[in-house]
Subunit: 513 residues, 2 copies
C-alpha cells in the first residue's frame, strides 16, 4: 500500500552524507587469549607506515587497525617494488568490526543468516601503480589483507590505504559532557554516540554491517538518542514518512522498509513494531514541535491503534500466537502476549495526547474508552496478584519483559509500579532480557519508577561491561554470562554496531548529568 506523496516527502529529505578520511593507526595481530572478549586479543604489530616500504607477496598477510569503528569506502593504492608489476594482484580482503572476524574462518560459518553478511572479497587488481576505491560500503575497524599473488618477480607496497567514512550525523552538534560526569559514563556516552553516528546514514539503519535496514523498533530508540545528541529532526521525519508511505496491504506499518534500489516495504508485520509508529511520532513531535508532520501522519498512527485493537479477544487480551508475530526481545522461550498488551497500552497513551493536540476529539474519546477497557482487562486477566507479577500466554509465563513493559505502560498505580520492578529484581525470573534493546526498556522503566540508582547500576553492569570488553560501538547482542551468544548461531554474524544499543547517551544526557 504505497502512498506516493509520503514517499516523495521522504525522498525530499534524503540527507547528504558527510565524508571524512580515516587512515589506519597501526598493524595488529589477533591472538588467542582466554581472558580476552570472545577469546581473541589484539596485539600491536608495528606502524601502518610499514606498508609503504615492506614488500608483500604470495602467502603474506597483515591486519590493519583503523583505530575505531568505521563505516565507509576503502581506497587501496597499490604499487610494486623490486620490479614492475607484470601481472594482476589477487588479494583476499576481510573486514571486521571485531577481532573474532579477523581470527575465525568465515568459510566455516554455519549460522542461520546468510554468510554474505560477513564482509570478505577475493579481488584482482589489474594495474599497478593504481588506486582502487572498492564499490561496496564496509563496516569495520580491522582489515585483513591476504596475498594470493604476486608469486614472482615483484612485491606489493601500499603508498596509501584509507577509508572515506560516511554518516548523516553532524558530530559538531553533540554538546560536550560536563567535567563532573564520571569517566565510565563519559566512555559509555562516547561509545553510544559513535554507535548512533555510524548507524545514521540515509536512514537510521539498524546496523551498518547487518542488515543496513530501517526497522521501526530501532528507529524509535535512535530517535530518542538523536534528540539528545545530533538533533537531526529531518532524518527522523524522513523515516516516519517512509514507514507511512510503504505500509502493508491491510494498512499496518511494516516492521522494516528497504531504501534501495527504491523505497519499498518488506512483508514483515510485528504487532509491537507497528504500534511504535505512534510512539515514535509522539517522541518526534515532543522533540521538534513539528505539528505539520503530526497533522499529515496522524491518520496513519491512529490506524495502527485501530488495527492493533482488532487483535483483542473477547476478554480484551491480545491474541497469542506461536509464530513470530511480536518482537519484544531475542529470547526463544519468551511469550509475547503480555508485552504486546503492554505495548498497546503504552502506545495508546501516546496516541491520546496527539489526538488532543490536533483537536481530534472523536479519536481522543475512542482511544480513552479503549484504554479503559484494555487496562481493566489486563488487570483482570494478566495480573497475578498472588505472585505479584503479570503473566503471559497460556502457560502464564512470568518474564522480565512482561513486567518491564507493563511498568512502562503504567498499568499499575505509581507505587505498585515501582514495587513491581523491585520484586522483579528480587525474584529474578528465568526469562531475562537478552538484548540491549530489552535492557533499554528495563532502564527506561527503572527511571520512570524513580529507581534511577538501580538504572545506573544496570547500565554500568551491562553497557559498562561492553566498554570493558572493548566495544568501540555498542553491540546488537550481549550476554555478560555468555559472551559468544548469538541469536543467529554464530557470533561472527552479530552486528557489533547496533542502533538499539545506542541509548546510554539518551539516559546519561537526559537523566544523569
Amino acid at each position: 500500500m504505497i502512498n506516493p506523496h509520503f514517499v516523495l516527502t521522504a525522498e525530499s529529505l534524503l540527507p547528504k552524507l558527510a565524508e571524512h578520511t580515516v587512515t589506519p593507526v597501526r598493524l595488529v595481530e589477533v591472538v588467542a587469549d582466554p581472558d580476552a572478549f570472545q577469546g581473541w586479543a589484539v596485539k600491536d604489530a608495528g606502524s601502518a607506515d610499514n606498508l609503504k616500504e615492506r614488500g608483500f607477496s604470495k602467502g603474506d598477510s597483515f591486519i590493519l587497525d583503523f583505530g575505531d569503528h568505521q563505516v565507509g569506502y576503502l581506497t587501496l593504492s597499490l604499487d610494486s617494488i623490486e620490479a614492475r608489476a607484470d601481472s594482476p594482484v589477487r588479494l583476499k580482503l576481510t573486514f571486521g568490526e571485531m577481532p573474532c572476524e579477523m581470527a575465525e574462518d568465515f568459510d566455516g560459518y554455519d549460522g542461520w543468516l546468510d554468510r554474505s553478511w560477513l564482509q570478505d572479497e577475493i579481488m584482482n587488481f589489474d594495474i599497478l601503480p593504481g588506486s582502487y576505491t572498492l564499490p561496496r560500503r564496509y563496516t569495520f575497524r580491522y582489515l585483513k589483507v591476504e596475498f594470493i599473488t604476486p608469486a614472482r618477480k615483484y612485491k606489493v607496497v601500499f603508498p596509501d590505504i584509507h577509508v572515506t567514512t560516511v554518516t548523516s550525523a553532524d558530530v559538531s552538534k553533540v554538546a560536550p559532557l560536563a567535567d563532573s560526569v564520571p569517566q565510565d559514563l563519559r566512555d559509555m556516552d562516547r561509545v553510544a554516540v559513535k554507535t548512533l553516528q555510524d548507524c545514521m546514514q540515509t536512514v537510521f539503519e539498524d546496523g551498518p554491517k547487518r542488515d543496513r535496514r530501517l526497522w521501526i523498533g530501532d528507529l524509535r530508540l535512535q530517535a530518542l538518542a538523536n534528540y539528545e545528541t545530533f538533533n537531526n529532526f529531518d532524518l527522523v521525519k524522513r523515516c516516519l514518512y517512509l514507514f507511512a508511505g510503504l505500509r502493508l496491504e491491510c494498512g499496518q506499518v511494516g516492521a522494516c522498509v528497504y531504501e534501495k534500489p527504491e523505497p519499498a516495504g518488506d512483508d514483515i508485520y510485528l504487532y509491537d513494531y507497528s504500534l511504535f509508529f505512534v510512539a515514535t511520532l509522539y517522541d518526534y513531535v515532543e522533540a521538534s514541535g513539528d505539528l505539520e508532520t503530526l497533522r499529515e501522519l496522524w491518520p496513519i498512527a491512529l490506524e495502527q491503534i485501530r488495527i492493533s485493537l482488532e487483535r483483542l479477544d473477547d476478554r480484551g487480551i491480545v491474541k497469542d500466537d506461536p509464530s513470530w508475530w511480536c518482537f519484544t526481545d531475542w529470547h526463544e522461550q519468551l511469550n509475547k502476549q503480555a508485552p504486546a498488551q503492554a505495548v498497546l497500552i503504552y502506545c495508546m497513551k501516546r496516541g491520546l495526547p496527539l489526538a488532543e493536540r490536533l483537536g481530534d476529539t472523536e479519536a481522543a474519546d475512542s482511544i480513552r474508552s479503549s484504554l479503559d477497557q484494555v487496562t481493566s482487562a489486563t488487570l483482570e486477566r494478566l495480573w497475578d496478584a498472588e505472585q505479584g507479577f503479570f503473566v503471559s500466554g497460556e502457560g502464564r509465563q512470568v518474564s522480565w519483559a512482561s513486567q518491564v513493559w507493563m511498568a512502562l505502560a503504567e498499568v499499575l498505580e505509581k507505587d505498585a509500579n515501582a514495587e513491581l520492578l523491585d520484586r522483579l529484581f528480587a525474584v529474578n525470573p528465568d526469562i531475562r532480557p537478552m538484548t540491549p534493546y530489552m535492557y533499554h526498556h528495563l532502564i527506561d522503566a527503572l527511571i520512570l519508577t524513580g529507581r534511577n540508582d538501580k538504572a545506573l547500576e544496570q547500565m554500568r553492569a551491562y553497557w559498562g561491561e561492553m566498554v570493558r570488553d572493548g566495544a568501540d560501538t555498542f553491540w546488537e547482542v550481549y550476554n555478560p554470562e555468555d559472551k559468544k551468544n548469538s541469536p543467529y548461531g554464530s557470533n561472527l554474524i552479530n552486528s557489533y554496531c547496533h542502533a538499539w544499543s545506542c541509548t546510554p547517551t539518551y539516559f546519561i544526557r537526559k537523566y544523569f548529568v
Copy 2:
C-alpha cells in the same frame, strides 16, 4: 629513455573502442571426455532464458556459453523470487576462454605465472533488484556462476546477463572471401580474424586474457594480418611510437611496453625483438606509404641495427648466452644463436631499402657493408655443408628454427634456400617449432621459397587442427602431439586468443585466394 614527443604522438593516436552487446546463447555443462580437446567436452544444458525464471540458491551453479570468444565488460542484473532479497548475494564468478577453465580447479593451479591471470572473483552484490557492471575487463566464452548464498528465504534470477565487448578493429573493413575459397580455409580465416579483432584494443595486445601487453614480436605479425583485414594503420603507428618513445637505457627498443596507468617501458630486452622494430617499420611503410612516420622513426630503427651489430664476436657471429636474451620460440632446448644471426640479417635487409628510400646513403652504405660481412661470417661459421643445415651454439645444434630463420634471411641462394626447407622436412630434426609464432615463420619461409602447397598443408595440419579442436580464436601454444602442453606449467594459464597465432588470415588473403 623516454622520448616525450614520441609518447605524445602515440597518445594522440589512442583509438576509441567500438562496443557491442553480446548475450549468452545457451547453458552448457563441461564433462570429461577422453576424445575431446584436453579431455573436456561441452554439452548443451538448455536455453539461457532459463536464468530469467529459474531461482538459484546456495550450492547451485551454472555455466553460460556466450557463443564465441569475447573481450569486454560483464553486466549482471540480479533479482529475487519467492521473497524479496534481504541479504547480499555472494557469488563466485569464473570466466574461461576454454572448457578446461570451467572444469579444472583454479585453486589447485601450480604453474609458473601468477594465478591472478586466471579469471575468477568472489563478489557480493548488496542490492536486489540491481544491475552490476563489473569493473574489470574479462576475456572469455564461458562464464561459471556458483552460488555461495542465498541460503534462506529468497532465490536469485537473472533478468539480464550480457557482455559489452570492446575492440579497436572495425569489422566492416574486412573483405568477404570469394565463394571459391574452400571451407576449411574460410574457417581458419574467420578464427584468425576474430583472434586479431579481440587482441586489437588500445594497443595490439599479445593476448587479451594474458598478458594484455604490447610485445613487438606479436605486433609485427598482428600488423601484417591487419594490413590484409582491418587496415588500421593508426594503431600500428601508435604502437611503433610507443616502442620508439620508451626505449631501454642504452637505446634498445624493449621487448614490450605497458600502457597503463601511463605508457612505460618494461626492462626486458630481447635481441630479436629489438630488431623487429626495423621489420615492423618496414612493413608499415610498405602498407601505408607513410613516409612522415618513417622519417621520424628511422633513427630509432637504424640504432637497433647498430646496437645489434655490437653483439657480434670477432668472427662476425652473434654471441650466444644461456640466459633469456633472444626469444625465437618457447622451446627449452632451443639454441638461439643461429636464429638471432638470421634475424639480424633479415632486419638489415629491411633497413636497407628504408635507408635508400629516405636517401640516407651513409646508413645504406653502412648496412650494405655490414650485411656482406655478417652473411659471409654466417656461411663460414654456421653453415654445415656436410649436414646441409645451419648449426647454432657451441653444441652445433640443428633446429627447425635455425633453418627457418636462415631461409627467411635468404642467406643461401634461391634454390639452395628452397632445398634447405625440403631437407628440413625430410630430416625432421628433434628441435621442432613449438608455438604458432614459430609456425608462422615456417609458413612464411615455405611461401618465400615457392613451397606454397607445403605451406598450405602445414597450415591445415596446424591451425586447421586447432579449428577441429574447437578453437574460437587461435591459441598461444599448440602442440598437436601434446594438447595440454604449456610453457608455463599449466594449460589453464595459456592464452587461448593470442596475437601471434592470427596470421592464417594474412597468408590466406595474401597468397591463397
